[in-house]
Amino acid sequence: MCAPVLRNISFDQASYTAGQTITATVTYTSCCSGPFTVAASDTGGRTWTVTFNDGISMATLQAIA
């Protein structure tokens, strides 16, 4: 068993103007070394693309505001 624990979600700005790129950073931990995949969605139906994932502790995702 290798369950991840999602520790934090942060954004690169306090708020966004329509058309801007949103960058979200997701950090997580686990008792094993992974790898882990990360996916995201939001209530506005945006397409979130994983731009970086170290497979162990963090990933960044981007979408257009």
Binding site: I9, Q13, S15, T17, A18, T25, Y28, V38
Partner: protein, 388 residues
């Protein structure tokens, strides 16, 4: 201006190789209906120590505990760091990048290209023939440096860093920093600004001056380093997005190194554009105060003059000690009038033991002044899309 905003909920799911998952959510806000950038400004500080880099993170946290949270810090690239790292992991040797990333502090990246520019270009002042520009794989050429700088910023962003802005070199009018002449420096912006903006549209590329070595009174010297229109060269094209200055208390109290020549809102005298906030407003770009403290290397001006410099917002009075050009008055004016702002950043070098810029005790007279300044700017924190 913007018209309305809506809040959405972002949900992320982490899945392990054997199918276990964890999900969490976080709200974010999108303002609709406007493309005009909001006025931007962030109170920050660069807390550094070249001698004991292992304590940088703790040093930053200690400063934040005493004063206020840090909204931005400078990252200085020295020659030993070129080519710059292209990820946080690759920056293991740069404690300041690591600390900024770990603490979530936005950064201004100060790059030092290996190529100093040229005056040998018929399309630019001072030369006759356009030189070869190299290629993206060749260090020491404009295109080689350009590829490395862009890869660096993109890599750090992908690592989760908030890259607020970037510049080439810094304190540029201190000619020892760049080692060249103004035309060489502006040539770098002429060549790099367009490709940089295409690759990194949300990371404005600007210029940092110093207020120490070259008084603002020598306006032709300051404008000669500026790749954009000024009252002295109104037809020039703009190849930068912001301008900032490092001015310390000792320079400010000299009475010649103010952001506005005649105070905020008053036009500069005809033919002079050496005051950097005047220059920024003329070019229509953001202005920031990228380092300040009591003294970079000169005499500590003392509490009374530091109070004037940081917080006084009284009416215009004769030089020296013009309080209308205080940092708080300058940025309160800019915020109130929708003029774009770059960060205002204290500078504390912990390697300089006993130095006049160290804030290390709760009774320090500068703490309430800086808290007030941070409050002035707090309502203007926004996106890094600074240029109009």
């Amino acid at each position: 201006m913007t018209s309305s905003s809506a809040q959405y909920t972002f949900s992320a799911t982490v899945t392990s190789e054997d199918g276990f998952t964890a999900t969490s959510s976080q709200p974010f806000t999108v303002t609709a209906g406007g493309t005009t950038p909001t006025t931007t400004g962030i109170f920050g500080a660069t807390v550094t120590d070249k001698n004991v880099t292992s304590t940088i993170k703790a040093d930053i946290q200690a400063w934040e505990a005493l004063v206020t949270s840090i909204g931005c810090m400078k990252i200085y690239f020295q020659n030993a760091n070129n080519p710059p790292p292209t990820s946080v992991a690759a920056a293991a040797g740069n404690a300041h990048i690591q600390a900024a990333w770990q603490l979530g502090i936005p950064v201004i990246l100060c790059y030092e290209p290996t190529y100093s520019g040229t005056t040998n270009d018929a399309t630019w002042p001072g030369g006759a023939d356009k030189p070869a520009q190299g290629n993206s794989a060749t260090t020491g050429t404009i295109l080689g440096d350009q590829a490395q700088m862009i890869a660096s910023a993109q890599g750090l962003i992908k690592s989760g860093m908030n890259v607020l802005a970037a510049c080439m070199w810094q304190e540029i009018d201190d000619t020892g920093k760049h080692g060249g002449v103004p035309d060489q420096y502006t040539y770098l912006y002429y060549q790099n600004h367009g490709p940089w903006k295409a690759a990194l549209p949300s990371v404005p590329l600007g210029i940092i001056y110093t207020g120490y070595n070259n008084p603002y009174a020598t306006s032709s010297q300051l404008t000669s380093w500026f790749p954009g229109p000024t009252v002295l060269r109104p037809s020039d094209t703009r190849y930068c997005d912001w301008v900032a200055v490092d001015i310390y208390g000792n320079g400010y109290t000299s009475g010649t190194r103010y952001p506005y020549q005649n105070g905020p809102g008053n036009a500069p005298n005809a033919g002079t554009a050496g005051h950097l906030a005047d220059m920024a407003d003329y070019a229509g770009i953001a202005f920031g105060w990228s380092e300040f403290g009591n003294s970079a290397k000169g005499i500590d001006p003392g509490q009374a003059n530091m109070t004037l410099m940081i917080s006084n917002d009284a009416k215009l009075t004769p030089y020296p000690g013009d309080p209308v050009n205080s940092i708080q008055a300058t940025f309160a004016y800019r915020v109130a009038n929708g003029l774009p702002c770059m960060p205002v950043m204290w500078y504390q070098d912990n390697a300089n033991t006993g130095g006049p810029n160290l804030i290390i005790s709760s009774g320090d007279y500068r703490i309430p002044l800086l808290k007030s300044l941070a409050k002035t700017l707090s309502g203007s924190i926004s996106s890094p899309g600074l240029q109009p």
